[in-house]
Symmetry: C2
Subunit: 120 residues, 2 copies
């Protein structure tokens, strides 16, 4: 069991933190739908100010979920699937780990119960 898989430090951390906010998820939806967009145009579709969107995009960028590039006087953002995919795999592994642990617990419990019946 690595430190990575237990405490969830590293990329997973920031991705989970970024995805926790509903406004940021909406932002990701918009970006995925449009392919590319600026903070100004994104803010037009959401009930928040442009500055709020800018901050959210900064968080998403730090998590590797989004990347921006300057084109003339505007900053265009696009979605980056890699970090999300990595986190999905991490979660799936964790879920599988829990499953196997629970299976083990259950098996041990049943064996103990059987032993109890035999002796008592």
């Amino acid at each position: 069991m690595t430190e990575e898989s237990r405490g969830a430090i590293g990329p997973v951390d920031s991705v989970l933190g970024a995805l926790a906010d509903p406004t940021r998820r909406q932002l990701l939806d918009q970006l995925a739908a449009r392919g590319e967009a600026t903070a100004t145009t994104l803010a037009a579709q959401l009930p928040v100010s442009r500055q709020a969107v800018v901050k959210h995009l900064a968080v998403l960028d730090a998590a590797g979920l989004v990347s921006g590039s300057r084109v003339g006087r505007e900053m265009r953002y696009m979605v980056r699937p890699a970090a999300l995919d990595a986190t999905a795999r991490w979660m799936a592994t964790l879920a599988a780990d829990w499953d196997s642990r629970l299976a083990t617990i259950k098996r041990v419990a049943e064996e103990a119960e059987a032993a109890e019946r035999d002796s008592g």
Copy 2:
């Protein structure tokens, strides 16, 4: 595209919110490792009070990541893989969706570039 897959309302929501907190992830680790534990024993291993643990367990329970059952005077909690697994699948699907969208964007861009070369 369903409303579920876009806004992430429903179970996914609460799961992401629950996993965003590092203390709650530690709690889940502990529970997965032990199979079963009470708030009191969990608090003994963490740098927070029992009450803090109780609140976190309530959040995890609301997200379906954990379930508790009363045994005598103590409340025993165990991990529930289903919600985590469902969220993992949701994320993987979303990542794949982004990937295909990006591929489409890229293809269209290349076709436009080719057309540009042909005409100009």
